[in-house]
């Protein structure tokens, strides 16, 4: 059966008592892409991952993961995915190596093959030197890398990462993302990742879904999302009266919100760097001399604000999540 979607969610819903944690969401993830779920804590990101990875059963709807139904064929789903949960899940009393071998056994991987893969993966995440140390001696970044290696032991087609950079410092965060990127490039792994860091979603995801209060509010490439709110912001400094330039530009197609702001002519346009030369020509023909042009892409912050009506603040959704966070921070500090 040829498949076009690595993940296909169909009216996926989870209800906890009166609370709709995930509210009839639909989305497709293509094979080989990095798909980001962006939203504040408590938005339903982790619940979605738990359903897709068969840890929690959906209240309503379902999803196909690697072509298998998460409700009807959970065992098949589990075999084809790798999961890196939000919390650290390795056994602290065991060494990194032992943890990898344990998880390998649970996937039924023969010992010889498991050993080869463990060596490879420890290399990939640069933990070979610490393989025989107990996990309790690892730093936060090391633990996260081990978790990623554990998530990859069964050569999954699809890797789920739940807040892979939560509680880590900026440098470690960048390193984690570089591993993720390598996976995509070298192994062609499809990656489903949740995050509440706007810059990370913007920088590393091929496509993003913005989720809030259990609903998907917008979906697309970071570029599409930014353009969807009116495109880049272009500011032009002209010689002479800016109002005359405004008059000229107001009749140009594709520009919106043209006005004078602090002596600059400002407007929004899709793909500002391509539009700039055209605008320059139009203004020159109308006899307006351009002194300078600056083009600014809207940030994901603005995109998020546009769709959710609030900015993405650090607010803790549930006690559970707060506890998980505290554990991670405690471990990361050691």
């Amino acid at each position: 059966m040829p498949l076009d979607s690595a993940i296909k969610a169909i009216n996926l819903t989870k209800r906890y008592g009166p609370i709709l944690a995930v509210d009839h969401i639909n989305f497709d993830v293509k094979y080989g892409e990095v798909f980001g779920f962006l939203g504040p804590n408590g938005a339903g990101k982790t619940t979605t991952i738990k359903m897709l990875t068969t840890v929690t059963r959906p209240t309503e709807g379902t999803a196909l993961v690697n072509g298998y139904d998460i409700v009807k064929q959970p065992a098949k789903v589990r075999e084809s995915i790798g999961v890196v949960p939000q919390e650290y899940t390795s056994d602290e009393d065991l060494t990194g190596w032992e943890n990898l071998m344990l998880i390998a056994s649970l996937y039924g991987i023969p010992k010889k093959e498991a050993k080869e893969r463990a060596v490879e993966l420890l290399n990939l995440v640069e933990l070979s030197h610490a393989a025989d140390r107990k996990v309790e001696t690892y730093s936060g970044g090391m633990r996260r890398r081990l978790e990623i290696a554990m998530g990859l032991i069964n050569k999954p087609k699809i890797l789920f990462l739940d807040e892979p950079t939560l509680g880590l410092d900026a440098q470690t965060r960048a390193a984690i993302w570089s591993y993720v990127y390598r996976l995509k490039e070298q192994l062609g792994t499809t990656i489903f990742v949740t995050t509440h860091y706007l810059e990370e979603a913007d920088q590393y995801c091929d496509r993003i879904a913005i989720i809030d209060h259990g609903k998907i509010l917008a979906m697309g490439t970071p570029r599409d999302l930014k353009e969807s709110i009116g495109g880049d912001v272009v500011s032009i400094q002209v010689a002479g009266n800016p109002e005359s330039a405004v008059k000229v530009l107001q009749s140009v197609d594709g520009l919106s919100d043209v006005r004078v702001v602090e002596g600059y002519v400002r407007f929004k346009v899709k793909d500002g760097s391509r539009a700039a030369p055209v605008i320059f020509d139009i203004l020159s023909k109308a006899g307006v001399r351009v002194m300078s042009i600056s083009i600014k892409e809207p940030s994901m912050d603005e995109v998020f604000m546009e769709y959710t009506g609030h900015s993405l603040r650090e607010e803790w959704g549930s006690r559970e999540e707060a506890m998980a966070m505290r554990r991670i921070i405690n471990t990361a500090r050691r």
């Binding site: 068969t54 840890v55 075999e79 919390e87 899940t89 071998m101 649970l106 039924g108």
Partner: protein, 289 residues
């Protein structure tokens, strides 16, 4: 997916590693039965109460020999043997198995809190294996610890049935291990099932402490059931500890209140029922987090 037992053994081995790599844990778990044996067993020793004292009742001039004879007869009729220390020591192997089983419930609470359980649930390993791995670990630990307790008991003066031939003795030991295995299967499954949904280790500790002493005293561990008040006897009769103690005493001391085959029948039912409940509920409850 290859052999499903593969995952089960990996999970059991994971738990065992924590134990044999940390001798402190092993030593600490042995302390309690050793305290019972060495402190309680050696001091509160019924045999010495009745035979070592020089009782002299004014007005009656009873020869010591007669008093001793009477004491021996009373001991024999109460405990089935004149050697109270061996009577107590035989119950300690069941005791340590029981304690180990109780603590196995804690490990699933920790696994949940530390996120390990969440990870295990995303792997294709059968849910029942997650529970049974812990149960098996508990069984193996218990047998190893019971062996140590038995050796210490012998050093402290426990005496086996002298009529046993070496072969019979070996078979008796195997029988005792079989009974302990059944006890451990049942109790570990029970405590793990109680802990399936729990995230709170304190409430789990409370459950352990709630059941620990009452189950110990409501069994024939320290005294025979016939010494109990009528309202306590029914508890002792359903308490699996009673039956394991009966097996141990029957096989090693030659003192049995019921019959050993009946004991095994009861223990087998206990083990099968609670293991089955544990496996069924783990499929049902581990998933819906």
């Amino acid at each position: 997916m290859s052999n499903p037992l593969h995952g089960l053994w990996a999970l059991t081995d994971r738990e065992l590693k924590k134990w044999y790599k940390a001798p402190v844990v092993l030593i600490v778990t042995l302390i309690q039965p050793i305290v019972w044996l060495a402190f309680f067993g050696k001091s509160m020793n019924m045999t010495s109460i009745f035979t070592n004292g020089s009782v002299n009742i004014p007005g009656l001039n009873i020869p010591k020999q007669v008093i001793d004879q009477i004491a021996q007869a009373y001991l024999k009729s109460t405990f089935g043997t004149t050697d109270y220390f061996s009577f107590l020591a035989a119950s300690m192997v069941a005791q340590i198995t029981f304690f180990t089983a109780m603590n196995s419930g804690m490990s699933i609470v920790w696994d949940r809190r530390l996120g390990v359980l969440g990870k295990l649930l995303t792997t294709p390993v059968p849910r029942g294996s997650i529970i049974m791995g812990k149960v098996l670990n508990s069984v193996i630990r218990s047998l190893a610890q019971a062996t140590i307790v038995l050796l210490i008991a012998v050093l402290l003066g426990m005496k086996f049935n002298t009529k046993l031939t070496p072969l019979e003795f070996a078979l008796s030991i195997i029988g005792v291990y079989a009974a302990l295995t059944l006890l451990s299967l049942g109790f570990s499954s029970l405590y793990l099932t109680l802990a399936l949904r729990s995230t709170n280790w304190q409430s789990q500790m409370a459950i352990i402490n709630l059941l620990n002493m009452p189950l110990m005293f409501a069994s024939n561990s320290f005294y025979p059931i016939k010494m109990m008040p009528w309202w306590l006897r029914p508890v002792a009769y359903v308490n699996p500890l009673t039956y394991v103690n009966d097996v141990t005493r029957g096989l090693l001391l030659g003192v049995s209140s019921f019959s050993v085959p009946m004991d095994f029948l009861y223990l087998t039912i206990f083990a099968v029922v609670f293991s089955a409940i544990g496996i069924v509920l783990s499929w049902r409850f581990l998933s819906e987090a």
